[in-house]
């Protein structure tokens, strides 16, 4: 048996060891559970850990033949699920008080697919309430810290998943990305996170934040693992009318590629370490024989304003169902209206209320055209920027975020500043194209992310491209000293 603890292994290795019979699923799972027990008190990645369920599933899988193990690509592999994805038999909270004791009567499609692929679902990870935030500080239920520096945020909203993977509590996790919520925490935590093309992964069972922007995606410590998880969860779904069939994958030549470097993504306000490591990565790509092409995405500066109209508008509608009638918490009131208002007042946190109010206003009589419709038109311009760019280049490479993980509490009181941190990531959601963040290195002890963008439906090509760069980079040394 290996000398390193099992929790340090990547998913594909664990799966291979399990298939070969070198280790049991129970050993894999208990190793990760032990790691969680040792570390998660200080990291706070998980909202719920299903120890009994995970061990039972592992024991069940240990009865499988080698062939049965092989035919399930994630057999023996522990996976964490962001807690805005519903799971039967485990609570789902979306990081909010308003869901109360809610236990879903159905599994999200991605969860069904994980189970079919033999994944062992370990538990549910923390997030900003209803995925609204970039630091996981807006969770109403728990605090999550960045494993690289516990005084800093892990990013968000998939901060729990990112921290869990970086702290090696699990090799794989699911996140969701509406404006950067997979890529930004991946960048802050030094892992790989990918937002697929809109429609590539079923949203059925993802508690909707902004329906036209949300995508579930993989988070892992290597591109190979992220791709493995992506292939398990992607594909059409008869429960999701916006999910695309796997047919029609867009391919990209094997290279050398023309790599677009958008000048709007290298402006002011970028952290010096981020700039240095991004430029170093671009140099490596040039060194590999690819052509770096400066391009322009002229409507980039409008992306945040566009996003902060569309996302709250859709969210205000999606969150109306939390009304204290059929599930979740209820604050009693002596008539219906009072019950509604008290429930939603007590159940939602400040950031969620802010966005519900903004979105309700943007859709209300007399304002729809000026706000929502205008934003959807600008969205068209942003999509066209990318359409045009991808006629010239195969991929676009940018920093994932302008900065590194910030200190907890630092951006509590300034929504605009918080929103501006999403400037490099929201465009992919608005355009519906795939984006991937991979580690570009570590600056002053904090990881920096490099973002790859590809044309819509070129998801596989995006993994392939990023995977060629991965061996050229300094290997990540995962933060170990997070034990309390």
């Amino acid at each position: 048996m290996a000398s390193k603890p099992l929790w340090t292994y990547e998913a594909h290795t664990l799966h291979d060891l399990f298939c070969e019979g070198a280790v049991s699923a129970e050993e894999i799972v208990t190793s990760h559970l032990a790691r969680i027990r040792a570390v998660d008190a200080s990291v706070g990645a998980f909202l719920y850990v299903d120890e009994a369920g995970a061990v039972a599933e592992a024991r069940r899988q240990d009865q499988w033949s080698a062939a049965e193990r092989r035919e399930r690509p994630l057999s023996g592999v522990p996976v964490a699920v962001k807690d805005n994805i519903v799971t039967q038999g485990m609570p789902t909270t979306a990081g909010s008080k308003i869901l109360g004791e809610f236990v879903s009567p159905y599994d999200a499609t991605v969860v069904v697919k994980l189970k079919q692929a033999g994944a062992v679902i370990i538990g549910k990870t923390n997030l900003d309430e209803f995925a609204m935030g970039s630091s996981t500080e807006h969770s109403a239920l728990a605090e999550t810290r960045n494993p690289w520096d516990l005084s800093r945020v892990p990013g968000g909203s998939s901060g729990g998943s990112a921290a869990a993977v970086a702290a090696q509590l699990v090799p794989l996790a699911l996140g969701s990305d509406t404006g950067g919520s997979i890529r930004q925490p991946s960048s802050y935590c030094g892992i790989v996170g990918m937002k697929p093309t809109y429609g590539r992964v079923s949203r059925y069972g993802l508690i909707a934040f902004a329906s036209s922007l949300d995508q579930i995606g993989p988070m892992a410590r290597s591109i190979r693992d992220a791709r493995l998880l992506y292939h398990v969860i992607q594909g059409a779904d008869r429960h999701d009318s916006t999910a695309l069939s796997s047919a029609g994958d867009r391919t990209v030549s094997g290279g050398p590629w023309r790599i677009g470097v958008p000048r709007e993504y290298f402006g002011e306000g970028m952290d010096a370490g981020v700039r240095r490591l991004t430029e170093a990565a671009l140099e490596r790509l040039r060194g590999m024989g690819h052509a770096l092409v400066e391009i322009s995405l002229p409507h980039t500066s409008y992306a945040i304003a566009t996003y902060y109209l569309i996302a709250p508008a859709e969210a205000s509608s999606n969150l109306s169902r939390f009304d204290g009638v059929r599930y979740g918490m209820r604050a009693e009131g002596r008539d219906l209206l009072t019950m509604y208002e008290k429930t939603r007042d007590e159940g939602f946190g400040a950031e969620v209320k802010r966005r519900i109010l903004l979105g309700t206003h943007a859709l209300s009589a007399g304002y729809y055209d000026a706000y929502y419709l205008t934003a959807q038109k600008v969205r068209t311009l942003i999509r066209q920027d990318f359409d045009k760019a991808f006629q010239e280049v195969d991929f676009i490479v940018t920093p994932t975020t302008p900065d590194v993980a910030f200190r907890r509490g630092e951006r509590d009181d300034d929504p605009i500043k918080m929103y501006l941190g999403d400037v490099y990531t929201v465009t992919a959601n608005l355009a519906g194209i795939p984006g991937l963040s991979m580690p570009a290195g570590v600056a002053d002890g904090l990881p920096v992310g490099l973002q790859w963008l590809a044309p819509g439906l070129a998801d596989t090509a995006l993994f392939d491209a990023a995977a060629t760069l991965e061996p050229q980079m300094e290997p990540m040394v995962w933060p170990m000293g997070v034990e309390a």
Partner: protein
């Protein structure tokens, strides 16, 4: 008082007859124990998404085409947002600015028989809400309400008329005709009492000489009236109420009103000024609904015969207009008629019997033409016996009643009761002779030109044959015998 013109527009909701709901696979059947036809989707659970039922779209397109609408090849769904416990997501998935069908019409005919086209502004698809059961007498003093979501998500079409209706009577005619058209399409049960067809009426008064848009008139919406008759009553009341208010110099308030069946009055429910901001926006969970124009054209070609065409056909066949109207408005009756006339040539005889004696018996027994114990074949057999002279009209009525009672065929009844008509002249001749012999004075009256006298003698013969003699045969025999035996002696 007459300086106002009545302006009425109707919004009719019709539940479509699908097996499953509009966006999930739950049963759309009426009834069921509370919340037994529910799933995460129609409960509005977190994370659920809608998937469109193609049969609902087919039925909606069929309806729109039958109402002469143009059907969009591309339409879209929108969210209509408001909080209410019977609306699980707090938004209804509906269609806002790109409805499935537009620019249609329904033709109505008033007492003056002049045809009038009533515009159908739009036909769109949407999901129904659930049902609230109030704990207490009325909503106002209920201590709480219980939510049953079995109906939540059942597919509906909303049919919105132009404000072309000018009286409560026109509204009644419109609804009657609309229901008749839909009844031929197999799209809905159309039961107003079960809520599978519901009507809201918008009523306003236009002052003479008012040149502005109708939209600017203060409009009162009478909500959810449960029968065509009550829509008419509600409008009648509302027209009087508004007229009196205006005569008294008061203003009409834009509001929603209910209709009280017992008093025949409308009552204020809520003023619409404040709360009514539905914040429609395109449903991001549903891509556009795209229909193949060829398929739409095929659907149009495949429509069944509709009331207008059926009316024309019936009248062309010599059926009186009044009778044709009765048949057309009751699809079951019309289908009964079609089956019967396929087996029997004399269509007027079929019509007469169906709309008089058969109707009476069916109604008395609480049956309908579709489930009546006497099927078209049975009626046709009976009519055949009349035509062959085996039964008189009066006997036939008796036989028909017996057929309802016993479930027997006409010939079985005739045989059991020994009812068949005497058509043998020899069997009647002796009775004729006897009657002539017993009534010399009457014979003389007849001979002196009083035709009525003959009718008396026919009656006497019929009486003695217990009605079984064939009347025109009796008539003939009497004339012949008088001619032969009495007229001669007068010379």
């Amino acid at each position: 008082m007459s300086q106002y013109q009545v302006i009425i527009g109707l919004e009719v909701h019709v539940e479509l007859k699908t097996a499953t709901k509009l966006f999930c696979g739950c049963s759309a059947a009426f009834g069921g124990d509370p919340n037994t036809h529910t799933c995460p989707v129609c409960l509005g659970m977190p994370g659920v998404l809608p998937v469109i039922n193609q049969e609902a779209i087919r039925l909606a397109v069929r309806s729109a085409l039958a109402l002469n609408c143009t059907v969009r090849a591309v339409s879209k769904f929108d969210r209509k947002q408001y909080f209410y416990p019977d609306l699980p997501k707090a938004y209804q998935i509906s269609q806002y600015d790109q409805p499935l069908g537009e620019y249609g019409w329904v033709t109505i005919r008033g007492a003056d028989d002049a045809a009038k086209k009533i515009g159908v502004r739009r036909v769109h698809v949407e999901e129904d809400a659930g049902k609230l059961n109030h704990l207490g007498q009325r909503l106002g003093d209920a201590t709480g309400s219980l939510v049953d979501l079995n109906r939540a998500g059942v597919p509906l079409i909303e049919i919105v008329s132009e404000p072309d209706l000018r009286s409560a009577e026109e509204a009644r005619l419109y609804l009657t005709e609309l229901r008749a058209v839909l009844s031929y399409l197999d799209v809905s049960d159309l039961r107003m009492e079960e809520g599978s067809m519901r009507c809201d009426a918008n009523v306003s008064l236009r002052p003479e000489g008012f040149a502005g848009s109708l939209e600017d008139l203060p409009r009162v919406e009478i909500k959810n009236v449960n029968s065509i008759r009550n829509v008419q009553r509600g409008i009648e009341y509302e027209v009087i109420r508004q007229t009196e208010l205006l005569a008294a110099g008061e203003r009409i308030v834009k509001e929603t009103r209910g209709f009280d069946d017992a008093t025949g009055k409308t009552y204020s429910q809520r003023s619409k000024e404040e709360a009514n901001d539905y914040r429609y926006f395109p449903e991001p969970d549903l891509p556009p609904l795209v229909l193949d124009p060829q398929w739409i054209a095929d659907m149009k070609r495949g429509l069944p015969a509709l009331p207008d065409a059926i009316r024309a056909d019936l009248v062309g066949r010599g059926i009186p207009e009044k009778d044709a109207e009765v048949l057309v408005l009751d699809r079951e009756a019309y289908e009964y008629w079609r089956e019967a006339t396929a087996l029997f040539q004399d269509e007027r005889l079929v019509t007469n019997w169906m709309l008089s004696d058969l109707s009476r018996l069916i109604n008395a027994r609480g049956e309908s033409f579709a489930n009546s114990g006497v099927r078209p074949e049975g009626l046709v057999e009976l009519l055949g016996l009349i035509q062959a002279g085996t039964l008189s009209g009066r006997m036939a009525k008796e036989v028909l009643e017996a057929m309802f009672e016993s479930g027997q065929t006409a010939s079985q009844v005739v045989k059991d009761k020994g009812l068949s008509q005497i058509t043998d002249a020899g069997a009647i001749q002796s009775i004729v002779d006897q009657v002539l012999h017993d009534n010399p004075a009457v014979v003389q009256d007849f001979l002196s030109g009083k035709e009525k006298a003959l009718a008396f003698m026919v009656g006497q013969v019929m009486k003695q044959t217990r009605g079984q003699a064939k009347p025109d045969l009796v008539n003939q025999l009497l004339r012949d015998s008088i001619q032969k035996n009495y007229a001669a002696s007068q010379d």
